[in-house]
Subunit: 193 residues, 3 copies
């Protein structure tokens, strides 16, 4: 289960990364670099903070290869027009929901206390995008005056996941429920933005 | 002693972080994120560089909770007016003085040579602010043409601390003396800016 | 051999860093900080990613001292005029060629697979500059629409190094050949930019 969630997190985050890079008209190296940072930036910070080695994408070296393949495909697609920006929200929200839960689960497995584990979920879910925004010289949404509740969705969803895991009857589906919660919460926040 | 200095460093840095975030009119998540990064960014870099695990704020999980509480209180304060910017200098200078000494002390305890330990003091004291400035898309003062001697205060103060610690008669008060030295040096630099 | 390449990488990268800092009219702390980040940023990321401790510049504490000395010398030079910007390309390309090979070699020595090792070469070669650009609020060349093949040179050259090392007859000169390849590839890319 943990592996599937992590794989889906990587795929959707990288999809968001390559589409964003195409919108910014980057060359192939830029596309791959941006997709790599969006997909692996947050989890890398979490792994460094918790001293988990090898890093999750070094221990699973097919992940960078998948992102490499997606970057090649994306590079031959036509650049996205301006008004498709909105459709970027779906892969973004999916990648970030999967990574929030996966990040909290990994922190719990390392024995982190609840508050730290929920924060690690939020870091894993949001910091790929924060680092990518910073490198592209955009102010990360986390630090813009009107944030549509990005990190809040992630933190609350991670807490929900940690709580559901304690209930024996619900434990097996705790992760999918929390992912769905974060995704819907995020889409609702965007709608009312 | 080391614990008290670290605690004061966290409190004053977080105070600076939340006040700055209120000036930038960030929402609650932005306030907490900025305070967190100012308070823990420099020390996290030091801990990663020296391979100290758990990181100081994971090994002392009440630190993030203190910063969380301060962020809640700050969020209900009225936003600061423009001309209070100057008063932000006091908590900033205090947090950075305590962290410079605390950073050098931690590096010495890991067996780092003097030059590296003084640099780690400067990194711990200044990089929380550098990372926060970068994320908010401001040029860190370290890289602006007219820096009022920020990192210099920190580096020289850390060297002073390392030297005083070698004198048996002064050792017990080496840390408070170095903190006071950095704080006054910094205020003097601001005055002549 | 590995030590000589690393030393030359540090010297040329720091030379680029101090000259760039003089162009930006930074004070002494700014000059040293920028040179430090250009020279050690990429290798630090590689070491953190691969859990190599002590970091290469902590394990060889004469490196920061060399960069410190170069910063002092550079600080007393007259600031560079605008049209010397072009001449910065030579130390930049040299530093980045040496670091790309040195980064790949270090990753191989840790047992990283080929794809990861070549990526670590590219990270070591380019991320000092990426971090420095980000801190100075410039968009890193990696993320500008028209990149003159920066990271590509590095990645391909690292792959070449890894391949040549497998040939017993060529192994002793694999590193110099790969460094020369990256350097010439990079200069050619700049010429046709």
């Amino acid at each position: 289960m943990q592996q599937i969630i992590e794989l889906l997190a990587v795929v959707f985050s990288a999809l968001y990364g390559v589409l964003l890079a195409r919108r910014l008209k980057l060359d192939f190296v830029g596309v791959y670099s941006l997709a790599f940072i969006v997909a692996f930036g947050g989890g890398t910070l979490r792994d460094l903070f918790l001293d988990r080695h090898p890093l999750f994408w070094i221990g699973a070296p097919h992940y960078p290869v998948i992102v490499f393949g997606m970057s090649i495909v994306a590079f031959f697609l036509p650049p996205l027009s301006e008004h498709t920006e909105r459709s970027l929200n779906i892969p973004d929200a999916l990648g970030f929901s999967f990574f929030s839960v996966s990040g909290a689960a990994a922190a719990l497995a390392e024995g982190a206390p609840v508050f730290i584990a929920a924060m690690m979920g939020a870091v894993t879910g949001t910091f790929g995008g924060v680092i990518a925004d910073t490198l592209c010289n955009r102010i990360p949404s986390l630090f813009r005056p009107s944030t549509p509740l990005y990190a809040t969705c992630s933190f609350v969803g991670a807490l929900l996941y940690i709580a559901l895991k304690e209930l024996p009857a619900i434990k097996p589906v705790a992760a999918p429920i929390a992912v769905a919660f974060i995704f819907l919460f995020r889409l609702a926040a965007l709608r009312f933005d």
